[in-house]
């Protein structure tokens, strides 16, 4: 293993400390998507009876949404934690290291991908418990891969904000990005049933394609025509948000 890979690994491991060493602190973030899943299902469950609804029941339809929400929470938390590290001076210590800034950034956001597995697994398990059918191994793997990718992208977004504002007060801004991106999609109903304006937003929202990709197996079979747009949308998001984060990282100290 190269020195750079070791740095990414160490920093990623440190990011997990928040989850592993502060008992209780991570519980709201881990459980929130599941609470949403259960709450929304019990409230809006009847919506599955609408003509044109593509899933047999509402829970099956929104389990992937809950998993992506887990990714959004983890991404935002990465930015909030970085802002805290900047406030406390820990980030200065990191900047003093003779390693490429890109390596440091990778280390910071890598933990988001790992952390997102926790809330999304809880959502997934809760879904199976309340009767959501098993989507198949391939679909499950694809869904979790997309969750990790989205967490990475949103961590880059939140990191950019943290580097720009340098304070935890920017937290709502970091959380709102993921919130809007995940819910302004065909989250609660198939595309054809959305309100006109929501349909318009969902069409240009890249997370729509990520969600449709993650929804395969839950609704319909896994097919290449729905998989590649998900990967392309995620790739585009990662490229854009990643380069913003890199730019933010390069500009620190200017």
């Amino acid at each position: 293993m190269t020195g750079r890979a070791r740095i990414v690994l160490w920093l990623g491991r440190r990011g997990l400390n928040e989850v592993l060493r502060v008992p209780g602190a991570s519980i709201p973030g881990v459980l929130a998507p599941t609470i949403f899943l259960l709450g929304l299902t019990s409230m809006f469950g009847a919506a599955a009876r609408l003509p044109g609804f593509t899933a047999d029941d509402f829970a099956t339809f929104i389990v992937p949404v809950g998993m992506l929400q887990g990714a959004a929470f983890s991404g935002a938390a990465t930015g909030v934690n970085l802002a805290r590290d900047i406030e406390r001076g820990w980030f200065d210590r990191l900047l003093l290291v003779p390693a490429p800034r890109l390596t440091l950034l990778a280390g910071i956001v890598a933990s988001a991908a790992l952390r997102s597995l926790l809330p999304s697994s809880v959502v997934f398990a809760a879904g199976l418990l309340i009767g959501v059918p098993w989507p198949g191994l391939g679909a499950t793997a694809l869904a979790f891969a997309l969750v990790m990718g989205l967490a990475l992208g949103l961590a880059c977004y939140a990191t950019t904000l943290a580097l720009a504002f340098r304070t935890q007060q920017a937290a709502p801004l970091m959380q709102m990005g993921g919130f809007v991106l995940v819910l302004f999609t065909p989250a609660f109903a198939p595309e054809d049933l959305l309100a006109g304006w929501m349909h318009a937003i969902a069409t240009v929202n890249p997370v729509t394609y990520v969600l449709e990709g993650a929804r395969q197996g839950f609704v319909g079979d896994v097919t290449w025509p729905r998989t590649w747009p998900a990967l392309a949308a995620l790739g585009g998001m990662l490229a854009l948000l990643g380069s913003l984060a890199v730019r933010g990282m390069r500009r620190t100290g200017r």
Binding site: R88, G89, L96, P98, G253
Partner: protein
Amino acid sequence: MAAIETEGLERTFKGGLTAVAGVDLAVREGEVYGFLGPNGAGKTTTVRMLVTLLRPTGGRATVAGHDVAREPDAVRRRIGVALQEAALDPLMTGRELVELQATLHGISPARVRGRARELLERVDLLDAQDRRVGTYSGGMKRRLDLALALIHEPAVLFLDEPTTGLDPVSRMTLWDEVRRLKAAGTTVFLTTQYLEEADQLADRVGIIDGGRLVAEGTPAELKAEAGHARLDLTFAAGGDGPDLEAAAAALRPFGTPAPGTDGTHLRLALPGGAAEIAPIVRALDEAGVELRGLQVVQPTLDDVFVARTGHRLDPEEPRADAAAGPR
């Protein structure tokens, strides 16, 4: 070769505030350089530029032979920086932090463990190495911070106010460590608000105020420049208080004495040093003035500071600080 060299170093912030307005420094290899100044003088901004955390907006700086703006990574490899106390992750153990720092500095995995142990032993934290840093005392955190700064055996060590808020014992421990580093040939750039600290540790001292270097030299040179030793004379109170006029008259051949604050003191400059004391005492005795006590007062860096900047170095002295109790 100079360990640290700056020419017209400048930093202006976005709002237009110029924190550092053209600083020229030359710190020799193996030297302990004390960088003194009150809060807001430009001390921290200068250090942040020297350690590559902030880009200069004017002038240039080389540290350990490398330009801070053009070759930041080369500089980072050669320097160690002990930051303020809070820059430690409270959730990690001391050992994890040292091992992380070693990894970040590219020390090979085979050597990480041994190097960490060596440093923890050196700063006397072996017993506490597996406890989370959040449970450490202020002094332990500073020692750990020092260990982190030394992980890659840096040629130049920056210590940013290393003893602010420490109790006297921890302060002495840190001072001893700085002396050991100096003996081993490490260049130390020490910022401090404490005159005593600079006086005790530094080979040379630079005083910054308003973004400019206002004085530089060895502590002895600076103090000599600030003036002579003084003789502080206390007289016994008679019926209506001591006869200061008679005393002043008797002292006239030696200079012009200045009255103290409470009406029992006179101060006199001693350009000839301690050798002048005996004739002064004799003259007073002959004039029949009863002397209660006398003290030779050496000029301090504070006097230098007042002479150069027109105001005192603000913060409380270390002892008063420690008396405020542990933090």
